[in-house]
């Protein structure tokens, strides 16, 4: 019964804290890593942190609308990944590396 105890003591706050930690990690990755692929992975992490908080809210407020939102986010994430990877491939073809600094050549 201990396990169910633990489960029952986990509240909304815990989910949100985990979500915040994940979001901060993702953001740190976006801001600090120079590799485009890693940055995209970090963005996925941030999106999923948000998804987690959505689901948590949905469960604790007995409202399923937020779960619908999650599906949308996942769809967008898939599309974004497709575009992002295409960009990464283009950059790689041109410079043999996927470092973000090559994007600075696009500066007007």
């Amino acid at each position: 019964m201990q396990s169910s105890d633990i489960l029952s003591t986990i509240g909304l706050e815990h989910y949100l804290v985990v979500s915040a930690i994940l979001f901060a990690m993702g953001m740190a990755g976006v801001l600090m890593r120079r590799n485009l692929i890693v940055m995209m992975m970090s963005i996925e992490l941030m999106l999923n942190a948000v998804n987690l908080s959505f689901v948590a809210f949905s469960k604790f407020n007995n409202n399923s609308e937020a779960q619908v939102m999650v599906f949308f986010v996942m769809t967008i994430a898939a599309a974004e990944a497709a575009v992002g990877l295409a960009l990464a491939v283009a950059i790689f073809k041109r410079f043999k590396e996927v470092n973000i600094r090559f994007f600075e050549h696009l500066k007007g």
Partner: protein, 649 residues
């Protein structure tokens, strides 16, 4: 054709001529340019005659043909139509403008045919006629003002027509700027009249003019009419703004004849006659007008005595004759002023064109000291000029005699007149007779002083025919307004002029009439006339003695008068006084403003503004690195700041 169509054609025909010549201004084909321009004005002349005949046919009380073409300005209850009116006064004006104008256009073909800018010249001339017609036909002061400014512009363009000579370009600017001063006063006068009467339509103004005269100097009507008169002194070259007209002789001679003698410079007189009920209500204004007119008539005539440039003599003569017209309207003799306007248009246009013929025949020589004896070489020019001379010195039964004597008699006898005005007028007439005889003697009579290399020749028919027509008009023009005292001895010639103008000229209020004015003064009128005419004839004979019989006498006389001659010869140093008293101080102050205020404040302020923008740009530019992660960080930091604001509250 109904009269609206006629008025439209009258106005548009010179404008079309202007557009045709203006759009092909580089052409040097004087035949096409001259024909188009002359036909345009001649068409207007035909319309003017038809309108005039229409007026004559109409019964006296409905002699007013109006044409409202469109609504020009409508702001609340302030409405101005593009309305044009042909009545007794403007009908005479359009006949003069288009009639004399056609002759001068014709003359110009001969005079300007060698000029490279001939097409441009004719375009300007047509534009001038168009604007002048707007000036005289407009039914409100504002419409008149449009023409008023338009003729000023054309005058500027034509005075400075040979602008590659900087003196001539400067003369154009002088005319324009001097006129601006008058125009400013004209505008102020319009404001005052609009504030007082709530309309700018001249017929409504005349109807609203107070019937009791305004004794105060600061009354609205007095102030308004005085300011309008200041506008007139600019356009019509009266003291103190007359200085531009003698310089305006820098333009081609036919321009001097059309604009600076026959038409534009009479605009001020015309405006006063047009608004005569208003001016009658302001006796103080009328006194000022008569005084300025008399003073100008004498002053300009004295300067005319000393000039050696044939056109300058005529220019000062014009200023002097315009003074007569203002003297006439100032004493309430509006009909006589209008009549002198017309006869002057004939004989002064004739004399200017004659001088143009002389200048042309002498190969651009204008100094009368280098002429003399031209009668032999230019018989037609001399004969026509002779007629003009008889007219301007007031030789009995020539046109100038009737109009000038009517003015002198009215200056003496009108309730608003004074004996002194008559004396000034007679002095002016005596001086006029002297300087015009001097001009005739030095130019056409006596020994030839022509340079051996110059071979004077008579002008072509294109130039002599207008001269002959104008000479005929100068001789017979006066018979439209023969005064009663003379008319009764010439087979009872009625005074057409007075009958014609009577409905549009308001009489001076009856309470100003004393017993003297209502009595019949035939003997007095005859004796005054005899005095002025005989004095003028004696003066002309003296001039003949001076310059023909004893050619050395004038030099001796000059030495005798010494400083006075010097003063008059230098035009009383009026230009110099204007420079010392007004123009130079303004230039000095402008320089101060430039060197202190502009350099230290206005320039500094703009530099400072540009520095702020530059520096700000530099700072903001450093954020714009192109590094995507930096941008993402800005978003993140911004988000944190906004969220903390929201959550902390």
């Amino acid at each position: 054709m109904n009269h609206q169509t006629l008025i439209a054609i009258l106005l548009l025909s010179p404008l079309i001529g202007f557009l045709i010549n203006g759009l092909r201004y580089k052409s040097t084909n004087y035949v096409i340019a001259g024909t188009v321009a002359t036909l345009a004005v001649a068409t207007s002349f035909v319309c003017a005659i038809m309108l005039f005949l229409g007026l004559v046919d109409a019964p006296v009380e409905s002699r007013r043909l109006t044409a409202d073409f469109f609504n020009w300005i409508a702001v609340d209850n302030f409405k101005i139509n593009a309305g044009f009116v042909v009545d007794q006064i403007s009908a005479i004006m359009i006949l003069i403008i288009t009639g004399v104008g056609s002759l001068i256009h014709l003359f110009s073909i001969g005079y300007m045919h060698h000029d490279k800018g001939v097409t441009k010249y004719f375009a300007y001339l047509n534009l001038f006629v168009f604007n002048m017609l707007i000036l005289v036909l407009g039914d409100s002061l504002l419409t008149m003002f449009v023409g008023w400014e338009g003729v000023g512009l054309c005058s500027y363009l034509l005075i400075g027509f040979w602008f590659s000579d900087s003196a001539k370009a400067a003369a154009g600017m002088k005319a324009f700027i001097t006129n601006r001063i008058g125009d400013g006063a004209f505008l102020l006068g319009m404001f005052i009249l609009f504030m007082t009467f709530g309309t700018l339509n001249m017929y409504e103004l005349n109807a609203l003019a107070p019937t009791t005269v305004e004794a105060s100097w600061l009354g609205a009507v007095t102030l308004g009419t005085l300011l309008l008169f200041v506008g007139a002194t600019g356009k019509s070259a009266q003291i103190p703004l007359y200085v531009w007209l003698p310089d305006a002789m820098a333009g081609p001679t036919p321009v001097s004849a059309l604009i600076h003698a026959a038409t534009m410079v009479t605009a001020g007189v015309y405006m006063i006659i047009r608004l005569n009920p208003l001016f009658i209500a302001a006796p103080n204004t009328m006194m000022v007008i008569a005084t300025i007119g008399a003073a100008t008539a004498v002053l300009a005539a004295t300067i005319g005595l000393t000039q050696y440039d044939i056109k300058k003599v005529l220019a000062y003569s014009t200023v002097s004759q315009l003074g007569y017209m203002f003297l006439a309207v100032g004493v309430g003799a509006f009909g006589a002023g209008m009549m002198h306007l017309m006869t002057h248009a004939f004989f002064k246009a004739l004399m200017f064109l004659g001088s143009g013929s002389v200048i042309h025949g002498m190969h651009e020589e204008q100094d009368i000291r280098k002429m003399g004896g031209l009668k032999k070489y230019m018989p037609i020019t001399h004969a026509t000029f002779f007629m003009g001379w008889l007219a301007i010195i007031g030789f009995p039964l020539f046109s100038g005699f009737f109009s000038k004597d009517e003015i002198l008699w009215k200056a003496f006898s009108s309730p608003r007149g004074h004996e002194l005005f008559w004396v000034a007028g007679v002095i002016g007439a005596v001086l006029t007779a002297f300087y015009m005889t001097r001009l005739m003697a030095l130019t056409f009579w006596g020994q030839s002083r022509v340079d051996k290399n110059v071979h004077p020749h008579e002008s072509t028919a294109l130039m002599t025919v207008p001269l002959i027509i104008l000479a005929i008009l100068s001789v017979v023009g006066g018979f439209v307004g023969v005064p009663h005292v003379i008319g009764q001895y010439l087979g009872h010639i009625p005074n057409f002029w007075e009958h014609w103008l009577e409905p549009v000229i308001k009489a001076i209020p009856a309470n100003e009439m004393t017993a003297f004015h209502s009595e019949n003064h035939e003997a007095l009128e005859w004796s005054l006339m005899g005095t002025s005419v005989s004095l003028a004839m004696i003066s002309a004979l003296t001039a003949y003695m001076f310059y023909i019989v004893k050619p050395g006498a004038s030099e001796k006389f000059k030495k005798l008068l010494g400083p006075i001659y010097n003063l008059v010869n230098n035009k009383y140093f009026v230009d110099e006084m204007y420079f010392a008293g007004i123009i130079n101080p303004i230039i000095r102050q402008s320089k101060n403003l430039w060197q202190y205020v502009d350099v230290n404040f206005i320039d500094k302020m703009t530099y400072w503004t540009s520095d702020v923008v530059n520096g700000g740009g530099k700072v903001v530019r450093s954020f714009q690195t192109g590094n995507m992660q930096q941008y993402a960080m800005y978003i993140g930091v911004g988000l944190v700041i906004v969220l903390s604001f929201v959550l902390m509250r």
